[in-house]
Amino acid sequence: MIEISSDVIRGYNDTIILFILLDEPSYGYDISKKIRALSEDKYIIKETTLYSAFTRMEKNGYVESYSQSAENGKKRTYYKITELGKKYYEEKCQEWHLTKEVVEHFIRGEQ
């Protein structure tokens, strides 16, 4: 089975995470679970990848973090998308359309 290459997807980790956060604020494991579910188990994001994305995006002002206790009393860091984050997400979507279009030209499909 072909696995997804982390080199290729790296540039879109932020986009994927921001997409999850569009609906509602969320925390680490919940985000990774949603990514896995939405990608139909084809992409399992590593914890370190997730964490580095969080800190990078927080530094750039795309997300904000706050801590909140869950029902079982466990304290978790929640992330919330900012206006700047939404704008960045839109840009990345457009960038992807372009990238996809360009790369598509060079793929010999077996459709």
Binding site: Y29, K46, E47, T48
Partner: protein
């Protein structure tokens, strides 16, 4: 879950102990914990859950940027600290216990040393030949010489471990945890020996009082010779037990304090507790060579006053004073 925690601690062990690193560790742990709990909830066996969590953890190098470190991996490779394995730790503890045994035996002989002059002095008095007391004095010197030889053997035993003070060394998280657990386990054994020692010291006076009351002054060889000698035998063995009881503790503490407190591993709870820093260099020298200093004071006082009957009290007093003195000289 313990395995996952150990894994994470080991991964982070050599990283600097900064706020960013701690935050990253906590955050990653929280995610791993969530994942683990869910996998177990799905009915996965624990081993499988652990394997999944660890395999999906990723690479620490990836978060180096957010930790404010250029490269985690190269950082780890350039640490020139010598890693002490669990096996080496066990050997070190065994050697330390052996050293403490010889040291304690040396002190025991030093405390026993006045027995010669006391017994032979009283025999000399009883039979009216003073020269007999000389045998006692010779015995005293033999005891002290043997005691000092034992101190020398003890320091010789530790020659292979000198590097612990000279080189920068480190122990892994799991070794630290193993040592902390072993130390905990050895506490009851320590307490028994220590109590036995204190009891022996306290009752060492009894024979002389009892025999004196029963016999009066009619048997001077017993009341002035053998009975006082029993004080030294009791006190000697008592002090030996007290000294030896802490043998392993000192070794555990030494190993646990190896890790640099600026790293995550050095910040591990039992390590923090045993890291000793003294207020001044003089205080450090005094406390590190505590028993040698006490021996010097004991010998000087004994030979100048020739009051062997009471100078041995220096040993239990020194034993009691050690803790408060350490408290005073340690940096808070």
């Amino acid at each position: 879950m313990e395995t996952i925690k150990n894994y994470l601690e080991t991964m982070f062990a050599n990283l600097p102990n900064t706020l960013e690193v701690k935050k990253a560790k906590d955050e990653l742990y929280s995610m791993m914990e969530d994942k683990f709990t869910e996998l177990i909830g799905e009915g996965k066996p624990e081993n499988e859950a652990i394997a999944i969590v660890i395999s999906e953890f990723g690479n620490l190098d990836e978060i180096s940027e957010s930790l404010g470190i250029n490269n985690v991996v190269s950082e780890m490779e350039t640490t020139d600290r010598r890693l002490i394995s669990q096996n080496e730790c066990d050997n070190y503890i065994a050697d330390s216990a052996r050293r403490r045994f010889f040291n304690s035996l040396g002190i025991l002989l030093c405390i026993f040393s006045p027995i010669g002059p006391i017994i032979f002095g009283s025999i000399g008095n009883a039979v009216g030949i003073d020269a007999i007391e000389l045998i006692g004095v010779i015995l005293l010197f033999i005891c002290i010489a043997a005691g000092i030889s034992l101190f020398m053997i003890a320091s010789f035993l530790m020659r292979d471990w000198k590097f612990l003070d000279k080189e920068l060394c480190t122990i892994s998280y799991s070794t630290a945890e193993y040592l902390a657990r072993e130390k905990e386990d050895s506490q009851s054994y320590k307490l028994v020996l220590r109590t036995l020692g204190i009891v022996l010291c306290s009752i060492s006076f009894l024979p002389v009082i009892i025999l004196d009351t029963i016999l009066g002054s009619s048997f001077s060889i017993i009341t002035e010779g053998f009975a006082p000698a029993l004080i030294f035998i009791g006190a000697g063995i008592g002090v030996f037990f007290i000294m030896f009881s802490g043998a392993k503790d000192a070794a555990f503490d030494k190993l646990l304090s190896l890790n640099d407190t600026t790293t995550v591993a050095g910040n591990y709870e039992p390590v923090k507790k045993v890291k000793k820093e003294y207020v001044s260099r003089a205080a450090e020298i005094l406390m590190k060579d505590y028993w040698k200093t006490v021996l010097a004071i004991y010998l000087i006082l004994s030979f100048t006053s020739f009051n062997w009957g009471s100078t041995w009290l220096i040993w239990p007093i020194a034993g009691i004073l050690r803790k408060p003195l350490t408290e005073i000289f340690l940096k808070k």
